[in-house]
Symmetry: C2
Subunit: 322 residues, 2 copies
Amino acid sequence: MAIVGIDIGGMSIKLGIVSIEGKILEKINFKVDYKKLSSDQVIEMIKDHILMLLDKSKFSKNDLEGIGIGCPGAINAPKGVVDYANNLGWVKVPLVAKLKEYFNVPIYISNDANVAALGEAIYGSGKQYNNSVMITLGTGVGGGIVIDHRLFEGNEGKGAELGHMVIEVDGKECSCGRRGCFEAYSSATALIESTKKAMIENQTSQMWQEVAGNLDKVDGKLAFEYYKKGDLVAKEVIDNYIHYLGEGLLNICNIFRPEAILLGGGISAQKDCLLNLLEPYLEERFYGYRQSPKVALKIATLGNDAGIIGAAALVLQNAIVK
Amino acid sequence: MAIVGIDIGGMSIKLGIVSIEGKILEKINFKVDYKKLSSDQVIEMIKDHILMLLDKSKFSKNDLEGIGIGCPGAINAPKGVVDYANNLGWVKVPLVAKLKEYFNVPIYISNDANVAALGEAIYGSGKQYNNSVMITLGTGVGGGIVIDHRLFEGNEGKGAELGHMVIEVDGKECSCGRRGCFEAYSSATALIESTKKAMIENQTSQMWQEVAGNLDKVDGKLAFEYYKKGDLVAKEVIDNYIHYLGEGLLNICNIFRPEAILLGGGISAQKDCLLNLLEPYLEERFYGYRQSPKVALKIATLGNDAGIIGAAALVLQNAIVK
């Protein structure tokens, strides 16, 4: 039996054969220049690489039992269509139907944040829980909701846009067009922005010296590093970041009361430093509401493999119900 | 077959025999003075009234197939315990276990907002949808989430506290202890407060004249009434109310992408006036996110019966899965 998980990214596409224990048995990836290639050409390449992957793992096409796909953008999961993926330049691409022309097996697709959440929930940091919510703190803020070990995706697979929950009405502009979204305060992008702002206002700070005033060198780690060193400017940046992130997570606690929140994305690389700041924040506020159970906070463990593993889990999830 | 739905309120308790089509066949209610009675005494009264109700409907105790209960406060649904209900003065009351001493049938309990949402979703304004979220705009803001015709309650039944989603970090104080909750802006209580504030600031307004300066007469309807009459002070109050309520509802769209949001509670009595203000607000903002399906907005239809009917639906929901 071979289940293939596919993680479509803005620069490259990763594919893997995944065991039902969630181990990647073999993987392969290829770079894609979406500006030069049509979606049909990219799908042709995906097909070729699935065959290559099967071959590399000594499977035949007949061994293939299912394909799962995680893709950025607005995905119509039930219809298998990529409605709109800005990074790929794709609009209304019927990805599942096109792949079905080559492979007569069940094929499932979902938004990449959802897929990563399912992977983490079933095989990663959430595997001991029935219900978990994953929050990915990267360029944006992604969300994925797993209820009773299954993905909750909402109508047309368009729910779980947890990064686009407004936490400050009329607040900071968000890329989505609304103002004050969770993402506008809690993404790595937002942290970098506020780090730069604090540095400009405090040009004698250690952070300013570190990059010799070159703000292009500021990343999502800098403020955390100098916070650990006791720098007061960095402390203010991080305290403010944790305040907004904490309020967003308390909202997730109150809305879903999951057993666990799984933190992924670039900021989650701060691991214990991040948890040591967030846990007391949530604890002091009764995890959102008095008389309510604690919500475990976990750092995602699957890293870059979450996409492939989660995509394969999509196949297994659907195999179980049918 | 007789299924009893019980709606526990802060002043009285309502009980009904509900058909599987969601019709109340017979109902009964009694006043309760929680300050004078122990929880055991109230439970004894509930038992007596269940027997009276059965008798009144010509059922015997053997016809009873199940009991469902909606109760305000923090309810541990899986354990059947009222953890904390401020209005009733109850702490850790094992209501289900106590009733089981009298009735050897399945007994289920949930938070009153959840129960009303289930009733509306299955038998009321949401019956044509698989997935809906109910928002109750009353003294507070209650929430209930129905996924695939079943209540989603979260760990220990403590999820779906949608009124306690912060929409303005560091905003208005909320009764829950946090600041800036949806409830602090969108409850009838919040509307009354902001109506009073606007009237004090504009003592020549028509609303001020209406109550002859007696602010105790201000209710959740006043600003809506004068908004309809074209009063500018009322318009500002209502526009601001719709802005915050709209942002909260857009959050619900993005988080759950339900097929419908069902609006209940006192404010929902504004019906078309409320919908005519909210629908364009959501529509202009793409129901929260571009390329996402519209979310239907519906006014709840079960009114005061939602509690009894929803409580009975709890029994049916659980009968289906077992």
